[in-house]
């Protein structure tokens, strides 16, 4: 029987599969951060349990860390306590912790791949919905809640009902200036924010094969915004080239053996999926969200839609509510929308390639007067790499702030937030009401689009950009 990539990963991790119950799946890598873990560790303590496999568990502090000077104490005592708690928990339970002052600290979904912890064929979980990012390497990676974090800490396994499978086949080639982010937003615009609920998505096709690992991570990262349990891409030479030599990647003979095995992690030619969607990348444009859900998105050449033409009564009311929150008038051209802030960061778009793409746009330009822009690298390693290439200088000279690594204004748990009414071009993943700060108005875009908006002060089609 031909199998999908998902079937292969699932089957390889089933510990037991009792009739009428969820299967028990083995978890190869458990990533932990400060916000969704304290109650899980406390649960272990109360029950007198230990961490079954501390060697398969890795922690970092990313969600609420300040992105300003790391040598200063954390001003927010509640946030500081949460990080202290993770530090203590990791010490008490023997878990490796990349602390706030570590050279390896960063957003959990950036450092996993970067350190070579993420290998094709793995099952990976984390108390964070964007765990789907790791699917870019041909892993089954998904977000879990804190009760499940505790379950995985205690048992290194998780009861799971088998999801359905969806193939999104992206043919053609993404045009210049159209990125993995635009592809992700385009898909969500098409299928909706619940279009993949109950599914694991596999992305395939020429346009996906042509993506770098960074682009693939962006695409898989956004799977959750379509409601998917996970997103995945079969590993190939691009994957192996990215991983080779990384600290926790297999070395020497083990590497050769691993690659041979990893090459089998692909859907068989005649494998069938529960649902298949075909998309032509050649026709895609840069995308900009206009509302308060990632599915409220249009091409940069488009206009804010009129709720009057919504498909259903519920959609119409949702659109009206979103427009009121976003202070937008129907039929406004997207390129006429003025912005106040720019955020380049997050587990979606803060890897080195994202920063290179943004820097290429801003080079030789100054941010528009009145626009405040910041770059928050996804990890300290990304930050160092960018500084080695001189990207930090390009950003600073253009008027951007250059920060320390963390989740930052993607969710605004730290001091990096929008003020009420501020409008932001953001490379993050969620434009929910108040996500980046109460009353803040978020428009999701690619790093190039965010960079261009910082320079012109409004959304601008990067396909027409005059590079300096």
């Amino acid at each position: 029987m031909p199998k999908t990539l998902f079937d292969k990963l699932w089957d390889a991790h089933v510990v037991r599969d009792p009739q009428g119950q969820p299967a028990l799946l083995y978890i190869d890598l458990h990533l932990v951060h400060e916000v969704t873990s304290p109650q899980a560790f406390e649960g272990l303590r109360v029950a007198g349990r230990s961490v079954r496999r501390p060697d398969l568990t890795v922690a970092t502090a990313d969600h609420n860390v300040p992105t300003t000077d790391r040598s200063l104490p954390i001003a927010d005592p509640v946030g500081a306590k949460q990080i202290d708690t993770l530090r203590e928990n990791c010490r008490d339970f023997g878990v490796q912790f990349f602390d706030i002052d570590s050279v390896d600290q960063g957003i959990v979904h950036v450092i996993g791949p970067e350190l070579g912890l993420t290998h094709p064929g793995m099952t990976i979980v984390c108390g964070d919905s964007h765990t789907s990012t790791h699917g870019a390497f041909g892993t089954l990676a998904f977000g879990i809640g804190t009760s499940e974090v505790e379950h995985v800490l205690a048992t290194q396994s998780l009861p799971q009902n088998k999801p359905s499978t969806m193939l999104i086949d992206v043919g053609g080639t993404l045009p210049e200036g159209v990125t993995a982010k635009d592809l992700a937003l385009g898909i969500i615009g098409q299928i909706g924010t619940d279009g993949a609920t109950g599914y694991v998505i596999e992305y395939s096709g020429d346009a996906v094969r042509q993506l770098s690992m960074e682009g693939r991570m962006t695409l898989c990262n956004m799977s959750i915004e379509a409601g998917a349990r996970a997103g995945m891409i079969a590993p190939d030479e691009t994957t192996f080239t990215y991983l080779e030599g990384r600290r926790f990647a297999p070395q020497g003979a083990a590497w050769t053996r691993a690659v041979a095995k990893w090459k089998t992690f692909r859907s068989d030619d005649s494998a069938s999926f529960d649902r298949t969607i075909e998309i032509d990348a050649s026709g895609l444009e840069p995308h900009v969200t206009w509302g308060t859900s990632p599915g409220m998105v249009v091409p940069v050449t488009g206009c804010v839609p009129d709720p009057a033409v919504a498909e259903s009564e519920a959609d119409r009311r949702a659109s009206e509510r979103a427009l009121e929150y976003m202070a937008l008038i129907p039929r406004t051209r997207i390129q006429d929308i003025q912005i106040d802030r720019v955020f380049i960061g997050s587990c979606t778009n803060a890897r080195i390639e994202d920063l290179r793409a943004a820097a290429r746009i801003v080079k030789g330009y100054r941010t528009r007067q009145g626009v405040s822009a910041m770059v928050v690298p996804g990890s300290q390693a990304v930050k160092r790499a960018a500084e080695t290439e001189g990207l930090d200088r390009i950003f600073r000279e253009s008027g951007f702030e250059w920060r320390e690594a963390g989740c930052s204004m993607c969710l605004g748990m730290n001091a990096d937030t929008l003020e009420p009414g501020e409008r932001c071009a953001s490379t993050s993943n969620r434009n929910f009401e108040g996500r980046q700060g109460r009353g803040g108005r978020t428009h999701l875009v690619s790093p190039m689009m965010a960079a261009a908006a910082a320079i012109t002060g409004h959304f601008t089609d990067v396909r027409d950009w005059k590079f300096k």
Binding site: D76, D128, G145, D194, R430, R435, G439
Partner: protein, 196 residues
């Protein structure tokens, strides 16, 4: 975990779709390291104005819905962040069941770990219940997990489906870590096999 068998309570209508977990419990309340005490921050940005006053126009602030323990909402309820703080806040506030046309996966899972029952009914049924909750004073529903039904005294009756095993765990209030650890031998055997 608190078992869920049968619950009768006042119904509050939240007629919005795609209610995300950032709305259910905004990020500024995620820094606490406890599981309890999140109820007062439920839907904070909708319940409380920036100046700290309650927003009288928000459904949960209407006196008639004080004490509501069943929430009815639009499709894709609980989308977004995996934060379990969302069901903690709903449960701590006093909700025992949420009825919607659909739920986000992670959120629904998280609810069931906390004795909070997500009930999926179709859009028309949900629309009817929202209307009832608005037009009928002290409108109550009975959610019965054993019979998998939602009923009211006026004759509304709908059945819902739920995974058998999850239903069993909720009915009994089972701790699934304890259940899994009964199969510790299988886990160890799997680890042994994977090494080889």
């Amino acid at each position: 975990m608190t078992p869920f068998r049968r619950h009768k309570g006042i119904v509050a209508p939240l007629d919005r779709s795609n209610v995300d977990t950032d709305q259910i419990i905004p990020k500024q309340f995620l820094k606490r390291i406890e599981r309890t005490g999140f109820g007062e921050f439920l839907f904070y940005d909708w319940r409380v104005k920036p100046n700290g006053e309650g927003d009288a126009s928000f459904v949960l602030n209407e006196p008639r819905y004080r004490g509501a323990s069943i929430l009815i909402a639009g499709k894709n309820f609980g989308c977004g962040s995996s934060r379990e703080h969302a069901p903690w806040a709903l449960a701590d506030y006093g909700f025992r069941a949420i009825i919607a046309p659909s739920f986000a996966d992670i959120f629904a899972n998280n609810c069931m770990k906390n004795g909070l029952l997500p009930v999926t009914l179709d859009e028309l049924q949900v629309a009817a219940l929202i209307e009832n909750a608005r037009s009928i004073e002290n409108y109550e529903l009975t959610v019965d997990l054993e019979s998998r039904t939602v009923t009211d005294i006026a004759g509304f009756s709908a059945s819902f489906s739920i995974d058998d095993f999850q239903r069993h765990c909720l009915l009994e209030g089972l701790d699934d870590i304890g259940l899994t650890l009964l199969h510790e031998g299988d886990i160890a055997a799997f680890e042994q096999r994977s090494r080889g």
